[in-house]
């Protein structure tokens, strides 16, 4: 017997959202083999995206001979990816001379790409954790967007309404407000699901719209709108409520980055070291057995959705208190949806989420630099991200391309080999 055991076919049932989630966070997906899959998926995505880079440059097609065309194409690709890399991490050739210059501004400029990567990654960590926590409890939180907005609005409101407090009081209060508002935005679909069975995918999407339009309403009220402005923009948050800068005025790096790491560790502990986390994971994997073992499934659903909402709310607070310092429509910039991508790539694992957020943060920070340095548009990054997710979602394809053997574990592959008559 040298063949891998074919998966047992599930008995006459429709694939549900829960099945899809379970596949993403399947325990075998945390092995080295799966890390390899992610790395290869990223590599493949870069290779394929190169076609877009070349395609977007008319000089390649208009080149007089194939050799010149190849040359131009190579310059395009290396320019784009070189720009992406130096925009995300820094330029190695000038890095040391800049650091050695002794001039504060010049030293800071060497670290600027790294700082931008971390600043872009922090909110992705929060929304990624939000979706990952939901995954673990068997819930698909598509409402990150609304929860980010709710969190940002509340954090901003506390930040510009309270005055005369020290940062030790006002900042935690503002962050707490962001968490609580996001949690409320998650609590509602959680309660609806626990009480009526309404599916969270539907209710969370709808609450996204509610949050988006509530923003416009709030920003037109006296309590929010900046005096003397007619456009929807809020007052500016107190410096006492702002997330402190970590590296001086020349870099945007702020304490939200540290908070993101702390929260990721906290989520890990919650899931694997507390009784509540045990309940989340048990209910997520099998609500029937959990109920039979005495776990209150409804309570777990409400708590998990609330916590997931709170985490996304922290992403909103992070943006408002650490980067924007005021609320305006669209500040969430699809962070909630990107959280789904990050959680998928991170396989629903806090450590994986941090790694995935860093990758995407780097891509985004690098994209700006890339567009400035070459003619390649920032949208390339969107293509890369989409391709990475596609390949990660189709591990069989990646294994096929690179001839990696599948692991022998029960119930692993999603697609059964063609058996049955």
């Amino acid at each position: 017997m040298s063949e891998p055991i074919p998966p047992k076919p599930s008995q006459n049932r429709v694939v549900s959202v829960r099945d899809v989630i379970q596949r993403v966070i399947a325990p075998e997906s945390t092995t080295w083999n799966s890390v390899l899959i992610v790395v290869l998926a990223f590599f493949t995505a870069l290779v394929l995206s190169a076609i877009f880079v070349v395609g977007s440059d008319p000089n390649v097609i208009q080149a007089p001979d194939p050799l010149t065309a190849l040359n131009v194409a190579w310059l395009d690709i290396s320019g784009a990816y070189g720009g992406l890399l130096s925009g995300a991490l820094g330029n190695p050739s000038t890095f040391f001379s800049k650091v050695g210059s002794g001039n504060v501004k010049v030293v800071a400029s060497a670290f600027y790409p790294l700082s931008e990567t971390l600043v872009a990654a922090a909110p992705l960590v929060f929304t990624g954790l939000s979706v990952a926590l939901g995954f673990r409890a068997g819930l698909f939180n598509i409402g990150g967007e609304g929860q980010v907005i709710a969190g940002g609005l509340a954090a901003g409101f506390v930040g510009f309404s309270l005055h005369g407090l020290t940062g030790f009081v006002e900042l935690p209060l503002a962050l707490l407000a962001g968490f609580v508002a996001g949690a409320l935005w998650g609590f509602i679909p959680g309660l609806l699901k626990a009480r009526t069975g309404a599916h969270e995918v539907i209710t969370t999407i709808m609450l996204n719209y509610v949050a988006i339009y509530l923003t416009y309403y709030f920003l037109s009220t006296k309590a929010f709108q900046r005096p003397g402005r007619t456009d929807p923009i809020s007052k500016i948050v107190d410096s006492a409520a702002a997330l402190p800068s970590l590296a001086g005025v020349n870099l945007r790096l702020h304490a939200g980055v540290i908070l993101a790491v702390i929260v990721a560790i906290a989520v890990y502990f919650l899931l694997w070291r507390t009784t509540l986390g045990f309940e989340f994971r048990a209910v997520g994997a099998n609500p029937d057995a959990s109920r039979a073992a005495g776990i209150g499934v409804g309570r777990v659903v409400v708590l998990a959705m609330s916590l997931a909402g709170g985490l996304a709310g922290l992403a909103g607070a992070n943006i408002i208190l650490g980067v924007n310092y005021s609320v305006s429509p669209g500040f969430s910039s699809s962070l909630g949806f990107d959280g789904i991508t990050v959680a998928l790539l991170g396989r629903g694992n806090p450590a994986g989420v941090v790694a995935a957020a860093l990758l995407f943060g780097g891509l985004r920070a690098g994209a700006v630099q890339m567009q400035a340095a070459t003619s390649t548009p920032v949208d390339l990054v969107q293509v890369i991200e989409a391709l990475v997710i596609m390949f990660v979602a189709a591990p069989t394809l990646v294994r096929e391309i690179y001839h990696i053997r599948a692991q022998r574990s029960a119930g692993a592959p999603a697609v059964s080999t063609g058996w049955g008559s």
Binding site: M1, S290, G294
Partner: protein, 499 residues
Amino acid sequence: MLANDHIDLVVEPGEVHVLLGENGAGKSTLMNILYGLYHPDEGEILVNGKPVKFESPSDAIRMGIGMVHQHFMLIPVFTVAENVMLGLELTGLFGFLDRRRASREVERLGKEFGLPVNPDALVESLSVGAQQRVEIVKALYRRAGVLILDEPTAVLTPQETDELLGVMESLKRAGRSLVFITHKLKEAMQVADRITVLRGGRVVGSTLPGQSTEAELAAMMVGRAIRLGVDRSPSKPGAAVLDVKGLTVRNAHGQVAVDDVSFQVRAGEIVTVAGVQGNGQTELVRAIMGLDQVASGRITAAGRDVTTSSPRETLASGVGHVPEDRVRDGLVGDLSVAENLVLDMYYMAPFAHGPMLEPAEIQRSAQQRIKEFDIRTPSPLTLVGTLSGGNQQRVIVAREFSRPVTLMIASQPTRGLDVGSIEYIHERIVQLRDQGDAVLIVSSDLDEVFALGDRIAVMFQGHMSGPFDSQLYTREQVGLMMAGSSAEAAPAKGGGESA
């Protein structure tokens, strides 16, 4: 891994060849090789004397080998006829499907072999037994000369099992060969022309049903002598621990599933509830455990009124529960063995302090119980869903039997398990009784009902007869009561009169 080691197997035309073996003995692997799903590393397959090589199941089908899997390969939203002709569609003029001809063909095959199926019914509307008949018709439609049945009775009720064994007889008379994979000794003895016993991937014996006893076959399967009954002393019952009074439960569709049932289980005795699946036993247990709502009546367990208690309150008052469907209700497949061993105790000391889990203690306790209950698992961290059925059930038994309980409720505690595991679990149950616990067992297996029960009750259509002393009735009488004869009618006449 070596799953099959130099196996020789000869199936004659018109014979029922029983392949007997415990879970993991290599029965299914062997059959999957014969069906072209796996490829042998060594050895050859001959059909009608000619060597053949199967690359895929379609090669096997072409050579006249049909297989009925444990899990049916049917499309629920298609009709029976559509499922049967799938892959070999009959077409009429212009390539349109000729459904009528397919229906006629299905009906003809059904009549010929005693497999009544309605060709136009949707598969999803059929019972498990009927779906299995569709699978058999499907194989016959493909002109199978050799039919492999992989543990076909595991999913059937006793009546359906008898029907299936009848079908096998008629197929045999029609000259078809059958390979019948099972680990149930009674069935094997009943229909076999030849029995081959597998253990650890090897053939350990081949015999004719007249030449060996059930005990000898069991010993061959397990590799040591097996007690088929359970040794136990007479019970010394004490006070009532479970007291059910006038219990009525409605199912999800609002129908009365348990109808005014009253009984007691006393300390130090085992009460078994016999009944064909679907006569209210499931709902009875779920109501006691607080998983289903009670419509009326009262339940007192371990000295507390648990009529409206939550599952956790009932469990915490000293009730152990081995659920009927171990995969759905008993275990969380994607959690580890260690985690499943504390599934209903994770929040209590010593497994938790306040809100924090104590992973070291959970691990230590798991290691100890894996040893004590002989759970075959590579490690406590192995996912429970990857274990065999017998070991999964041992995990549940280890969990429930190591909690401090005064009442143990176990539904179908040994369904689908191999002889060795059944023996083990039965011993533990009797041991529990001897410690003075009250035990309620629900089972549709008459052997088990009689092996364990100090008193026996029968459920039929939501009503309960008994419990009465196990000496009072014979197996046959209880079997008739399961089919609806009244308790009074059964012993007097020794035969069936509908109640």
